[in-house]
C-alpha cells in the first residue's frame, strides 16, 4: 500500500515538474474551468428542459444526461489531446531550434509527450465529474432513496451551486472578490435557465 502511495506521489511530483517546465499550469486550470462550466451548463439546460417538458421517467432523464456527460468527457479528452499535441510539438521544435540540439530524450521531450495527455484528462474529467455530481439526486432517487425535494429541483440547485463555486475559484485566481465572481457566473446560469424557459415553453 505504502509502495503504491509512493509511486503515486512520484507520478504526481513528475507531473507537476513537467507542467512547471512547460509552464502549462495556467492552461490546465483554464481547461478545467472552461469545460467544467460547459458540463454544468449543459446539465442545467437538459434538466430545465425536462422540467419544462413535464412528466418524463427518471431513468430516461438519467440516460439522456449521462449520454451528454459522457459525450462531453470524450469530446474534452480528444479535442484537448489533439490540439495540445500540436502545441507541445511546436513549442519543443522552437526550443530545439534555440538549443540547436535534439531534446526528444530530455525532460522537455517527455513533457511534450506527457503534458497533452494530462491536459486532455483534466479537460475530459472536469465536465464528466461535474455532470455526475449534478446527476447525483436523480441517480439517488432512481435507486429508491427518498429525497426531501424533487430530484430535478435538487439537481438544478447542485448545478447552480457548482457554477457559483467555479466563479469563486476564478475569483480566487484573479485575486478579486470571490463573492462577486461567484455571483457573476451564477447570473450566467440564471440567464441560461431563463432563455431555456422562454424558448422551450413554445
Amino acid at each position: 500500500m505504502s509502495r503504491k502511495l509512493g509511486r503515486f506521489m512520484n507520478l504526481l511530483e513528475q507531473s507537476r515538474f513537467l507542467l512547471r517546465i512547460t509552464r502549462t499550469h495556467d492552461i490546465i486550470r483554464r481547461y478545467f474551468v472552461v469545460n467544467g462550466f460547459d458540463g454544468a451548463l449543459t446539465m442545467l439546460g437538459l434538466i430545465i428542459g425536462f422540467l419544462v417538458s413535464g412528466t418524463t421517467g427518471l431513468s430516461v432523464i438519467i440516460n439522456v444526461c449521462l449520454g451528454a456527460a459522457i459525450a462531453l468527457g470524450v469530446s474534452g479528452v480528444s479535442s484537448a489531446y489533439v490540439s495540445e499535441v500540436a502545441e507541445r510539438k511546436r513549442a519543443l521544435g522552437k526550443l530545439e531550434d534555440a538549443m540547436i540540439t535534439d531534446l526528444r530524450n530530455s525532460a522537455h521531450g517527455e513533457a511534450a509527450r506527457g503534458v497533452p495527455l494530462l491536459i486532455a484528462l483534466v479537460n475530459g474529467f472536469a465536465p464528466l465529474a461535474i455532470s455526475l455530481l449534478i446527476l447525483t439526486p436523480l441517480i439517488a432517487a432512481n435507486a429508491g432513496f427518498a429525497l426531501p425535494v424533487s430530484p430535478l429541483y435538487a439537481a438544478v440547485a447542485i448545478a447552480l451551486l457548482l457554477i457559483f463555486l467555479l466563479g469563486v475559484f476564478l475569483g480566487s485566481i484573479a485575486g478579486v472578490s470571490w463573492l462577486r465572481s461567484g455571483i457573476q457566473t451564477l447570473l450566467i446560469a440564471i440567464l441560461t435557465a431563463a432563455l431555456i424557459y422562454l424558448f422551450a415553453s413554445y
Binding site: I21, A98, M99, I100, L103, S106, A107, H108
Partner: protein, 89 residues
C-alpha cells in the same frame, strides 16, 4: 586511480527548469556533490551557465547525463581538478 574533484562546465539550457532545480538535479547525480551555478547570459529561450561541481569522486558521465536529461547541452569543460589516489596493495 585518478579521482575528479572539481569541474567547471559551460552549459546552455532552456529557461525551465530554473537554475535552482537544475543545480538540485545535478547534485543528485552523486552522494556528496556540491554544485554552484552562475547564470552568465540570458537569451529569449536559453541561458548560458557556468556550472561548478565539487565532490570526492565526480562521475563525469552521470553529470553530463543529468545535464542532458534536463534539456541542457554541455558546451565545454573549462576547468578540471583531479587527484591521484595510491593503489591499495
Amino acid at each position: 586511480m585518478v579521482l575528479v574533484k572539481r569541474l567547471v562546465l559551460d552549459v546552455l539550457k532552456p529557461h525551465q527548469p530554473n537554475a535552482l532545480e537544475f543545480s538540485q538535479a545535478l547534485a543528485k547525480a552523486g552522494g556528496d556533490y556540491r554544485v554552484c551555478i552562475t547564470v552568465l547570459e540570458v537569451d529569449e529561450k536559453t541561458e548560458t551557465l557556468k556550472v561548478v561541481v565539487e565532490g570526492d569522486a565526480i562521475d563525469f558521465e552521470a553529470v553530463q547525463s543529468g545535464i542532458n536529461d534536463l534539456g541542457g547541452s554541455l558546451h565545454s569543460i573549462d576547468e578540471v581538478e583531479v587527484q591521484s589516489e595510491p593503489q591499495a596493495g
